[in-house]
């Protein structure tokens, strides 16, 4: 056989070993490869005849090398059965728990009608040309500040920036049903175009135009329709007495569609000349008005008949129609900002004296961190909605507060747990380090080392955590255990 052919066989054997070595556990790979290369040398020496290797000899050596695949595979199987490779404490266990939390919170959110309604994207399709007009000196967006007289003047006068107005005011009214029972409802006395201008949908609208013309129409909230009318599907056209006057039911507003101030039981659509008092005005912007609206709030000066100027404020609906997603993003931002206040966010506290982790290990370490955060964030979103709407089926400010606070708290402490958990994960196998042992004496902190030592059950690393950070040992340190430590971690048998 020529030396050229021998060189080819040598390459094949090396490639075979290199390929098989990927089957062996990473911690054992280098030693495994070293042993097989040494064995190959002895095999070659044994088969060589007069310094030459024959074809039959090369075949024999190839058969010998093929055994490396089975050996590496066996090593892999044995590694999996080691106590250090058990499921408990592993990265997979951690991710599965987070996945289960996400699944549970998501499934619960699908069962709660309030959450389902909040997540309905159709609720947040807002006409960008609508604004609410309010007194500029009102301290709160939800205060009623515009008189119906002003509304009537604006509506009838020529406007440059607005081409339509709607009005409503809120009042508590006594309502008498068909069975003469009395109830107190929170009623919005609104201009007839209110729902049309806002583009709000109604259901069960089966009243003719003539009927509506004769008697003011009333739109019931879904909650009232269910509570006082037993969700009667033939409610359309029924007459109810509201505040001493008859009103005909012309529809039911689905839950959560109303996002403006006031949690209404009904909307009484009556002619403008009947309305009185202070309320809210919604205006539709002309193209010129839209150009002026370069932020969510805009100052408006209104000139009245006596030439006195009135300072007003136009407020976009964007803030009120962000839905749970906007609130969630805001709470997330707060939690991320607050995180450094409750724990150190540094993960770069690991120092390897020798044999630092490979690039693939480092990548896996970061990937695991990202996976935990990716699983935590949607879990928090659904869990906070579950908490906020477990008792409420409608949008309410109270539910929004619960969502905001619960999102903030869960994200903050969830991220804290993720950071602390990540610091206690072996950089090689991502298992949690265990078996904490107190080392040293507190009184000798500044003269000797005092702290806690934890070890990876897989036998890869030791973690030293100082009890009191000092200038020479400020943060935790990892000690990489080479193969000479391996015998300590092999099963329970001696040797």
């Amino acid at each position: 056989m020529t030396p050229h052919v021998g060189w080819i066989f040598t390459r094949i054997e090396r490639a075979l070993f290199r390929g098989a070595s990927w089957l062996a556990p990473e911690a054992d790979r280098a030693e495994w490869l070293q042993e097989w290369r040494a064995e190959l040398w002895h095999a070659r020496e044994s088969i060589r005849i007069d310094g030459q290797i024959t074809w039959a000899g090369e075949k024999e050596i190839l058969r010998f090398c093929a055994g490396a695949i089975q050996d590496a595979w066996t090593l892999r199987k044995l590694e999996k059965r080691k106590p250090g490779t058990a499921f408990h404490g592993s990265a997979a266990e951690c991710l599965l728990i987070l996945l289960a939390l996400f699944a549970a919170s998501y499934l619960l959110s699908q069962l709660l009608p309030g959450v389902r309604a909040e997540n309905d994207p159709s609720l947040y399709r807002v006409n960008p040309n609508l604004i609410m007009i309010q007194d500029a000196f009102a301290g709160d967006d939800s205060l009623a500040t515009i008189s119906v007289e002003n509304y009537k003047i604006w509506k009838t006068s020529r406007q440059r920036y607005f081409d339509g107005f709607a009005f409503y005011r809120i009042a508590k009214e006594t309502v008498i049903g068909r069975d003469e029972s009395k109830e107190r409802w929170k009623v919005a006395h609104a201009s007839p175009n209110l729902f049309w201008m806002l583009g709000l949908p109604t259901t069960l609208s089966s009243v003719s135009g003539d009927a509506v013309g004769r008697t003011p129409g009333v739109i019931l909230s879904e909650a009232i329709w269910r509570r006082d009318f037993a969700a009667d599907p033939r409610i359309g056209g029924r007459v109810v007495r509201i505040g001493g006057a008859d009103a005909r039911v012309i529809g039911v507003a689905p839950a959560n569609v109303w996002r403006l101030p006031g949690n209404m039981d009904a909307w009484l659509l009556e002619p403008d000349d009947v309305n009185r008092g202070i309320g809210y005005v919604i205006a539709h912007l002309t193209p010129a008005g839209r150009l002026e609206m370069n932020s969510n709030r805009v100052e408006i000066i209104s000139s009245s008949a006596d030439d006195s100027d009135e300072e007003l404020r136009g407020i976009s609906f964007a803030d009120r129609t962000k839905g749970p997603w906007g609130l969630y993003q805001f709470a997330l931002l707060l939690a991320f900002l607050a995180l450094p206040a409750i724990t150190s966010v540094s993960l770069g506290e690991s120092h390897f004296y020798s044999s630092p982790p490979s690039w693939s290990n480092r990548f896996a370490h970061w990937l695991f961190l990202v996976a935990k955060i990716v699983l935590l964030l949607p879990s928090v979103y659904f869990a906070s909605l579950d908490l906020a709407y477990c008792h409420a089926t409608n949008f309410s400010i109270g539910s929004q507060y619960i969502q905001l606070i619960s999102t903030f708290v869960m994200t903050l402490f969830g991220l804290r747990w993720i950071v602390l958990d990540q610091r206690n994960r072996c950089p090689i196998c991502l298992r949690r380090v265990t078996h904490p042992a107190r080392v040293g004496m507190a009184g000798r902190t500044f003269l000797a080392w005092n702290g806690t030592e934890l070890m990876c059950a897989g036998g890869h690393t030791l973690l030293h955590v100082p009890a009191l950070p000092t200038s020479w040992f400020a943060t935790q340190r990892w000690l990489y255990l080479d193969t000479s430590w391996k015998f300590l971690f092999v099963g329970s048998g001696p040797g």
């Binding site: 040494a38 490396a68 695949i69 015998f487 099963g491 048998g493």
Partner: protein, 105 residues
């Protein structure tokens, strides 16, 4: 592993070979006639079960003989006890590989 643990014939043969002085993988293969795909995995299991222990030859020795260092295997106390039990089960073991075989360590 308990001393009374029953070994397969292959494992017993490998233990017997190591005790007889065939202390690295290829020499065990040569002695037992078993293929590499059987001998090495069996030695991994025996090591895991605490019946044999391995250690690397010193580099200086290998350098002096102009060869790569070998990984040597040695029976532990448990391994010796288990092998004694195995000899009763497989009486031909000692005839196949006599214990007084020349030591190669």
């Amino acid at each position: 592993m308990a001393p009374e643990t029953k070994l397969s014939h292959t494992a017993a043969l490998i233990l017997q070979a190591i005790q007889a002085g065939f202390v690295y993988g290829f020499s065990i293969m040569e002695m037992t006639g078993l293929p590499s795909g059987t001998v090495y995995p069996a030695m991994r299991r025996l090591e895991r079960d605490g019946m044999i222990r391995s250690n690397w030859e010193k580099q200086a020795i290998a350098d002096a003989e102009q060869r790569p260092p070998r990984k040597y295997y040695k029976l532990t106390a448990t391994g010796n006890l288990t092998l004694e039990g195995a000899r009763k089960r497989y009486p031909l073991l000692e005839r196949l590989i006599p214990s007084e075989e020349v030591s190669r360590t």
